[in-house]
């Protein structure tokens, strides 16, 4: 009987725990935690200065956060919200990506034109790679063999062999590349160019450009259409592209590169994260200080949630299963 009661209690406890989206607020030095069920902010955590890049470990047991002005990567316990320890990161870490081995963080040091590789277990820097000026966009291929750094001022994507941590190729992209992602099959690399207003698509094997996506929103001046962060659905159907001060998210067909739709969100949208089954997308709207939730099936905004000042990055955290 007691075991039955315990089971019931545990079940009710887990059912009340909804998955979460964690948002870094650049100007508030905080993280806002959004409950995916209620679509409300349930916790606000104090963190280091100018939090930007945000990602969970593969098992979601810890959160890594670029505290850019504190010149460190903070490691946070998602249960308690406490900062556990800090990782060396080089100066001004902005974005980073966790290698599939769950061990190596590739960090872009915006001010130093360096990509720093940190071992999260030994908490040591294992490599520093010279890249172009103002590195920002970071990506790692699904098989972990390649890492990418894009440099905003040099307008290049730097291809890094993760086994040697050496650059093996540099490819020119349009002006001010901000974000890079591999497709799930690892065959394509997508790079957004903020000022260029495009996304360039590269064939990973040959590093040759195979396509380019441009954006045009009726009634919005071209200069305001600035692609930054983007995310692709795992089913290979859509890519969602944040278009900065145009206040829209573009929906792109992953296969045909055709822009299917534009969705109105808050002001200056930069980054985003999906929920567990990719039915909802959460976009960070910096200037309006909120997060817009998009219904992925209907391609419609559902709700906009107030968070801290200048929300920057977003990361998904499952709390059960």
């Amino acid at each position: 009987m007691r075991s039955l009661l315990t089971a019931v209690l545990m079940l009710s406890a887990t059912s009340t725990l909804a998955d979460e989206i964690w948002i870094s607020n650049e100007k508030d030095d905080t993280i806002s935690v959004i409950d995916i069920e209620t679509l409300e902010v349930t916790r606000t955590l104090e963190v280091g200065e100018r939090p930007r890049g945000i990602t969970f470990s593969r098992d979601h047991s810890v959160l890594y956060l670029c505290a850019s002005d504190s010149d460190t990567v903070q490691v946070i316990d998602p249960e308690t919200g406490k900062i556990l320890y800090e990782l060396p990161s080089g100066e001004d870490p902005e974005q980073f990506v966790l290698h599939p081995n769950n061990k190596h963080l590739y960090i872009a040091n915006e001010d130093d034109a360096i990509t720093t590789v940190v071992d999260v277990e030994t908490r040591r820097v294992i490599a520093q790679i010279d890249v172009g000026i103002e590195p920002e966009g970071m990506a790692v291929s699904p098989d972990g063999a390649l890492s990418i750094t894009t440099s905003e001022t040099t307008n290049m994507a730097h291809w890094i062999d993760t086994s040697t941590n050496q650059i093996i190729a540099n490819t020119l992209v349009d002006q001010r590349p901000r974000h890079a992602e591999f497709t799930l099959d690892g065959k394509e690399l997508w790079v957004s160019a903020e000022i260029g207003g495009t996304i360039s698509i590269f064939d990973v094997e040959t590093q040759a450009e195979k396509g380019k996506i441009s954006f045009e929103i009726q009634g919005v001046h071209k200069d305001r259409v600035q692609p930054v962060g983007f995310e692709m659905t795992k089913d290979g159907k859509y890519a969602f592209v944040a278009l900065g001060p145009s206040n829209h998210i573009a929906v792109v067909d992953q296969k045909t590169y055709e822009v299917l739709n534009y969705i109105l969100v808050g002001r200056r949208v930069w980054h985003m994260a999906f929920d567990r089954d990719e039915t909802k997308l959460f976009t960070t709207n910096g200037v309006s200080g909120d997060v817009t939730v998009i219904d992925v099936e209907k391609l419609e905004p559902i709700k906009t949630i107030k968070v801290g000042r200048f929300p920057w990055g977003a990361a998904f955290r499952p709390t059960s299963g």
């Binding site: 009726q218 009634g219 919005v220 206040n247 109105l264 969100v265 808050g266 002001r267 309006s288 817009t292 939730v293 905004p301 559902i302 709700k303 906009t304």
Partner: protein, 262 residues
């Protein structure tokens, strides 16, 4: 009792026949809000989207904002047009026929109001259908919840028209109604801009808009279309309906000698 409903049915039938036979009126009633939606709203696409006010949960484009206001516009024009038809009836003598019926006068006036309201509801749903084709659609429940609101709003605006018609002696004066009633009522309401936007221009403007019963009619409809309830707006609309209805019954009171003794 049955006679009363027969009278009501006859009045509604007459209004419907008149509406169906005036195809131009139906088209005009649709073209007017559509011009606003397609031309006016297109120029203001980026004007809104800075603040989220209920019932909206996220940023919206201007086209989405003005649809409830344009539904209100359809009903406002229709209410006034019904009043115009009353003035015409009076000039042609058919009103005398109506008012000499043994039915209570308030019942006849109410039937006339209801007839006009039903016609306006057909127009509103036709407009919503076309708005849907432009991609501005609502949930099925939203369309359903809008129905009682449209009936209430239609009666309220119709009652206002009825009262005005009792004070107008000639058809020509309708232009005055346009200038002094329809336009101020429409522009000084939340049909085109939300209250916070009005407040940016002037707090007096905002206060006038907040006082205008047409604003509350639109807000009641706006909330209903998003499956939400706005109690304040409902009270405003019901109270306004009461006042306008009372005024029009008073206006058509033969004891005043104004109507029949003209």
């Amino acid at each position: 009792m049955r006679a009363m409903f027969r009278a009501m049915f006859a009045i509604i039938l007459r209004e419907t026949i008149r509406f169906v036979s005036q195809r131009g009126r139906f088209i005009a009633s649709l073209v007017r809000p559509l011009v606003w939606l397609v031309v006016f709203a297109a120029g203001f696409r980026a004007a809104l989207g800075l603040s989220i006010t209920p019932p909206y949960q996220t940023y919206i484009t201007y086209e989405i904002y003005i649809v409830p206001g344009l539904c209100g516009m359809v009903q406002l024009f229709n209410g006034m047009q019904s009043s115009l038809s009353l003035v015409y009836d009076r000039e042609m003598g058919s009103m005398r026929l109506l008012l000499t019926s043994p039915m209570p006068r308030w019942w006849l006036l109410f039937s006339k109001l209801l007839a006009g309201t039903l016609v306006s509801i057909v127009q509103v749903y036709a407009f919503l259908l076309i708005a849907g084709l432009f991609g501005i659609d609502f949930s099925l429940l939203g369309y359903l919840y809008a129905l009682p609101v449209l009936i209430l709003n239609g009666l309220m605006l119709g009652a206002l028209g009825l009262f005005l018609s009792s004070t107008i002696k000639q058809l020509e004066n309708f232009a005055g109604v346009m200038n002094f009633v329809i336009f101020p009522m429409f522009f000084l309401s939340t049909a085109l801009y939300p209250l916070w936007k009005m407040a940016e221009a002037s707090t007096l403007l905002r206060d006038i808009c907040a006082f205008n019963p047409f604003s509350h009619a639109i807000e009641l409809l706006r909330f209903a279309l998003y499956e939400q309830f706005n109690g304040t707006a409902l009270v405003w609309v019901i109270v306004s309906l009461g006042i306008f209805l009372g005024a029009s019954i008073w206006g058509y009171n033969p004891a005043r000698g104004k109507i029949l003794g003209r």
